[in-house]
Symmetry: C2
Amino acid sequence: MSEYVSMDNVKFTLFDVMDAESLVQYERYQDHDKESFEILLDSIKDYSDKSLFPYFKEMDEDPCRYEDGKIYTHPAVGEMMRVAGENGHIGATFDYEIGGIQLPHLIHHTLAHITQSANNSLPGYTGLTGGAANLIITFGSQELKDKYVPNMLAGKWGGTMCLTEPQAGSSLSDIVTSASPNNDGSYSIKGQKIFISGGDHEHCDNFIHLLLARIDGAPAGTKGISLFVVPKNRIKEDGSLESNDVITAGDFQKMGQRGYCTTHLAFGEKDDCKAWLVGTENKGLKYMFQMMNGARIDVGGIATSIATAAYHASLQYAKERPQGRRITSGGQKNVNEAQTTIINHPDVRRMLFLQKAVTEGSLALVMLTSKYHDLSKVAETEEEREKYHDLLEILTPITKTYPSEMGQTSISNGLQILGGYGFCTDFPLEQYYRDIRITSLYEGTTGIQSLDLLGRKVVMKNGQAMKLLTKEVIETIKAASNYDALQPYANQLKDASKELEGTLMHLLQYAMKGQNERYIADATIFMEYMSNVVMAWQWLNMATVAKTALLTDQLNYDQSFYVSKIDTMKYFFKYELSKNKGLQDILMNPESITIVEDNAVLV
Amino acid sequence: MSEYVSMDNVKFTLFDVMDAESLVQYERYQDHDKESFEILLDSIKDYSDKSLFPYFKEMDEDPCRYEDGKIYTHPAVGEMMRVAGENGHIGATFDYEIGGIQLPHLIHHTLAHITQSANNSLPGYTGLTGGAANLIITFGSQELKDKYVPNMLAGKWGGTMCLTEPQAGSSLSDIVTSASPNNDGSYSIKGQKIFISGGDHEHCDNFIHLLLARIDGAPAGTKGISLFVVPKNRIKEDGSLESNDVITAGDFQKMGQRGYCTTHLAFGEKDDCKAWLVGTENKGLKYMFQMMNGARIDVGGIATSIATAAYHASLQYAKERPQGRRITSGGQKNVNEAQTTIINHPDVRRMLFLQKAVTEGSLALVMLTSKYHDLSKVAETEEEREKYHDLLEILTPITKTYPSEMGQTSISNGLQILGGYGFCTDFPLEQYYRDIRITSLYEGTTGIQSLDLLGRKVVMKNGQAMKLLTKEVIETIKAASNYDALQPYANQLKDASKELEGTLMHLLQYAMKGQNERYIADATIFMEYMSNVVMAWQWLNMATVAKTALLTDQLNYDQSFYVSKIDTMKYFFKYELSKNKGLQDILMNPESITIVEDNAVLV
């Protein structure tokens, strides 16, 4: 079997860089230890080898389909729901008392990285089910919990998040799905939801939709949105199921992730769709954002995983494929020599380093954000918890976006390494290329994430999150500066971080003058710019850990593994961080073109 | 019908920017005039509307397939071959005496832009047939011409170029297909060729393969490669056809351009495949490069066309789709207002300008290179012809690569504008995204083109081509400097052009020290860097033409058309040319990572 993930890299990043073991000092995680984490990782890898990776191509070739009001998916979907339910994967991060094992999110995301690298069409089914269950657990009544959560965690019932409507898209202010109160405390729902991942299939008896709707008379905009539990089938007194008037109207046919269904659901066409309010009226969006924020980190993780699998596929190809010869110092090629393997060509090496830099850097970022998530819950003091919460907040849009955007670039380079074969279905690169394209759209497009970053996160609490982040970056710079060999890179990151601050100050002038649209006009450019600093930070940190291991001779993996980390850091600083020069120029450029009042014409 | 190309833009670029009419002063083109060109353009648009665009999606959904040794394609393939043959499109640029109409390549590529924007799976079939015929005409004997060319130009027989072999890929030095001389002056061919576009289908009676092979005892490497005509079916004395032992072994299944077959051919498996030498022994690669150079410009044109169609699709969507509201100066959105169309959001405007800048700039570059091709043949003096030949040589790799690489980025941004819908098969963006991905692989990957640019073209004749190019750029800078409003951009281009020179000088030091691999190690980065200067030149030139038209009130199109050209130039300088800052940093960076002797480790 070809490799799709490096377990050495997973363990190095998790244990050596993120110090996952440090989490078990907290009461919530005290029953775990490094050994139990490792057993989990290895067993998930084994499971992924046997039960996920083998269906990766098959699920693409035989995609989900919609027939006679029903959606049919690959049998592996049912099998995975069953196994995940039996093994307690779906609610692994939940409290013991509701069937969880209080696994840190850090570990949970690492496990998901392995499964998603093996087959990115499958883990979404269980991931969303867990997210939906968690929403009920956190904000729902005891009755809702008792009624729905056990079967969801058992993998018998699927869970979804229903936000998007045809006429509203990303603009949640404009959703029109209505909820009319009934005498029995339930609500009657009427409306259409689209792009509902895992919204229906033949392998679950029931689907529990967490749905945003507007209660009759609610205020306009997002302030009038409430969250409901809407089961596909209602549970009767005797425990049997009856239809709840949720119609599956179609399955969107997509360019990639074709094994992961994307449904169109119609609620209450026969005026018989009942729903139950979660929490308080008109607080729905706030609740949903708990799930949404988690889902955004998930998407960054999915993108990282797809790009990781692609990296290993192209690395293997480059090591095995003979083609051409190196250019010798005389400038002539000796055609009587045997061909070299293409990994020896500088342009191929550059592309492989790009893939490695993007994917391993992204994995570190996903893990770090997940660790902040954990610490925001378990850290000792309120102050610490707030600190980690703020760090989680500011990193979430970057963790969603950088792996998605640069993962695409990374896979495109991987495909390029295979030449014409990369474009053909005989090799997996073209599927990875198609699959990952969804990640910069899912759960808020790159544009939306960038507005969130620049418009909300960097300015929240008077720039508090930004300050905390800068502090963390400075810690890493200090640690790296202990090594002469890393000093130049530490200096570069220091400069880049200062430039980021300066550029942000420049942009804030627009906001201070009330030119808010101008302030956020190039938010997507700012996202790329700031992401490069964040990633340079990740790489400098990883290189410092690797350097320390090499110098102290405390090696858990081959020496070449550590050397490669430092080389990839160098790659990142030379080829990726350098982009910030141009990006800064754009952000500092006084010329405005993209605001309507600039009167620039598009024909 | 939705629009896929702007005829205003085609005509503006062709007549106002490229001054196509100036070509008819040359004897070769004297029977043409602007009016006849316009009639051709309009009739090809009409034909594309009716006979090409309607099959764009259909050919993707029902791709070419291989069954029982045969390849089946969409009926539109046969119809297009027939119409192109009847109307003289296949050999339109050829001499009158062999059935051509001596159409300038500039016009021919413009017509191809229209057909390829309508349906990029179709025009390759006739394009390669014309290229193959031209190779026979230029280098083949009278007998070969008489025997094969008429049926090719009539669209009855298809033509191909057969270079790639499974074990050699891009390394033509390593092709092993053998040619053994027979007593009758023919050769017997034995070997496998892969990735042969249009290599077989049911709509032509015969296929004429222009094939590279090695005559028994020929020198190793590219010096021992000869060019042959290998018909699928031999022509018997009575004019009927008999099998020539060319077996169709398969059709590669691809991510995109699924209506354009990509065949695997086996020659001489029964030792009965006859071939006829074109020109002289061992000169095959030189001959093939005539076709190859043409094909590289074609690929740039195809990429431009696919990205153009995508631009119009996303522009139309952005104009029609209501979603969200603009951010007002107070920073609050008024949710009681109606939603705005998304073209009013700055991030969407930015993406549309990116698409417009890439596609219209690419079209100008393809046209300019084609015009240089024409002038290299027809200019008055030998000196002038050499000048245009050198310009053609240096621009060819850029014309192939920039539209291919940035066309992908452009379409990805277009897809992004549609949000989740962009990923779904209900809209054409996902198909454009898949289709264009082949263009940076076809006819020499981006890596190969970049080696050609930096390793050969910029240094050829002691840098002569580079000097000529710089001179042309300076002419444009001078013309733009006549307008105060364009002066800042003229200055920016002047700086960028000087920086390009300086960076090149820096790199050349490696070559002068004999460090040839180091010199070309970042050729792909250099390609991007130099391309941005070339594109800024195109945009400054277009903006100058537009400015002149506006100031002299000589408007052939809406005033907004001209204003938009100038705005898009501004976009290019702010958002694209700025990238050169970072790219230059990479090229000037002394740290080397991607050469084997750097000992950087990839695991």
